[in-house]
């Protein structure tokens, strides 16, 4: 009986400690999340309250049968795959450099932190300036090195080139976060494990493949999921670098949602688009949890 009471008191304390956090989060999130879902079944075309027609799943049908969504989805997918792959591959290399016993290591770590701490919008504005068609530093560098004959437009003419430039800017910024994450993972690998591999005659490549990589798997999985979710939601760097152009060639799903909702005032279409993104992200998260579960099972 007293045990029961004590457990009740502990639970009460736990809830009391959690209430402020719950208020701060769900007080803001819950109603809009539900409201957006409701809006997505109507045809709301102005920000003012009023009676709007119920259209059921029509907005979703329009999205899935329209070309604009699939084009934006392709851009989002390409951006996500290209940037996360590059960030993880380069981040792995960078993490090893961060862990290496080099001179001035504190300085090197300080330098690597810089892009991560730089605000995304500043990063976007910086690259937009570097890639400027008339006065940009990249054009100047390439022509002065005689790699290219004349100045060219990096962000303004070829949509695919522009999309790749956005990837470059994103990779420049986010590789350092990935590297620090992986460095944290590297430091949990016991040194004697690598030592043992070396004594067994494994070279650095083999040791990396057989010891480091498997031990890093949980960290890698976490970093991948985090980056993929962030890349899926990408908005600000595109807004500031290309504004979705040229010719809509860098429009991602979030950017399309923003345009539909706030420029075209198609709030319902926008809300439905947003929920399509939510479903995609939840699917990703489920896959991740699945992988984790399997890992736990294979470990225990």
């Amino acid at each position: 009986m007293t045990g029961f009471l004590r457990r009740g008191r502990v639970a009460l304390l736990a809830y009391a400690l959690l209430v402020p956090a719950a208020l701060v989060v769900f007080g803001v999130v819950l109603y809009p999340a539900g409201r957006a879902l409701v809006i997505s079944f109507f045809d709301v075309d102005s920000p003012f309250p009023g009676a709007y027609p119920f259209v059921g799943l029509k907005n979703y049908a329009d999205i899935l049968t329209g070309a604009r969504f699939w084009t934006a989805a392709q851009h989002t997918l390409y951006f996500t795959l290209a940037s996360t792959t590059l960030e993880v591959v380069l981040g792995l290399g960078l993490a090893h450099l961060l862990a290496a016993p080099i001179r001035l290591r504190w300085l090197f770590r300080g330098i690597v932190i810089l892009p991560w701490a730089l605000p995304t919008i500043v990063n976007g504005a910086m690259w937009r300036w570097i890639l400027n068609a008339e006065y940009g530093a990249l054009n100047a560098l390439l022509t002065q090195l005689h790699v290219q004959g004349d100045y060219r437009s990096w962000l303004g003419s070829d949509p695919f080139v522009a999309l790749n430039m956005v990837v470059v800017a994103d990779v420049w910024k986010n590789t350092s976060l990935v590297a620090f994450f992986l460095l944290a993972g590297l430091q949990t690998i016991p040194g004697d494990l690598l030592e043992a591999a070396r004594i067994d005659g494994a070279g650095p490549v083999r040791a990396f493949l057989r010891v480091t990589l498997p031990m890093l798997r949980p960290t890698l999985a976490a970093v991948l999921v985090l980056r993929i979710i962030e890349a899926f939601k990408v908005f600000d760097i595109i807004y500031v670098m290309t504004g979705g152009g040229p010719a809509g060639g860098t429009q991602t799903v979030t950017f399309l949602t923003y345009l539909q909702a706030f420029s075209a005032e198609r709030f319902s279409y926008g809300a439905a688009l947003a929920y399509v993104t939510v479903v995609a992200i939840l699917l990703l998260a489920l896959i991740y949890l699945r992988l984790l579960r399997q890992q736990e099972l294979s470990v225990s």
Binding site: V24, L118, I121, A137, A184, A222, F235, F262
Partner: protein, 280 residues
Amino acid sequence: MKKNRHVGAHIGALVASILILAPFAWLVITSIAGQTDLLARPLRWWPEHVTLSRYREIFSGAAGGVAAQFRSAMVNSLVVAAGTVLISVSVGIFGGYALARLRFPLRRVTLLSFLVTYMLPPIVLIIPLYLLMARFGLLDTKLGLVIVYCSLATPFALWTMNNFFGSLPVELEEAARVDGCSRLGALIRIILPLARPGIVATVLFVFLLCWDEFLYALIFTSTSDAKTIPVAIAEFTGRNAVDFGLIAAGGVLAAVPPVLLAVVLQRHLLSGLTAGALKA
């Protein structure tokens, strides 16, 4: 063999440093280069005219000008970030402790439901939130931004504090309770001081999150009353006749607080990530 590897690591670190520093260095050079230098072709890599006029303008330019808008945006960003850090880190500490140390029904579900909100893209919430904030007169106010940012940052603070408390030994707390401390007393007197590195890391992450946030600020603010630094910079970048040097100066100034914090708190950053990575 071993020596060669170290030489390789030094070269690798040097190359990486150059690749990281070069674009940022160009931003800094742009901010102090004369306008004719910026428009020169072929480009001069070090300007003939060096000027600090843009920084001077931002710090003391007349109200209403572009530079003054940068200044008020910096202040707004600082106020909003500070308010959010204060609220979300404190509620995150209490909630994180409960999740890490107390056994209660629906513990896992509670944690998961907080994390699910992190997966909701802001674009989902932004339309109804906009209408809601309009009704409560919170549009274009710093308070409105703090409220919204807390909902973004708190799940994150909960998660890192939960992981950090989980990595501390239980024995210390038990010893304190044997000595007659209540649970809350043990939390405040024993656990909090031990958890300082985790708290510092969380403060850093939440601060960067607020300083970086763009979409909500873009939609919810419209004047220098609440406009934050990312919105100000994006606006000037988007205009046609742009003063590249002034944008660069604004960008450099916007980078100073987060970069300084991150570099100074480097060690904590790493331990925060370790706690996160171990549990993830």
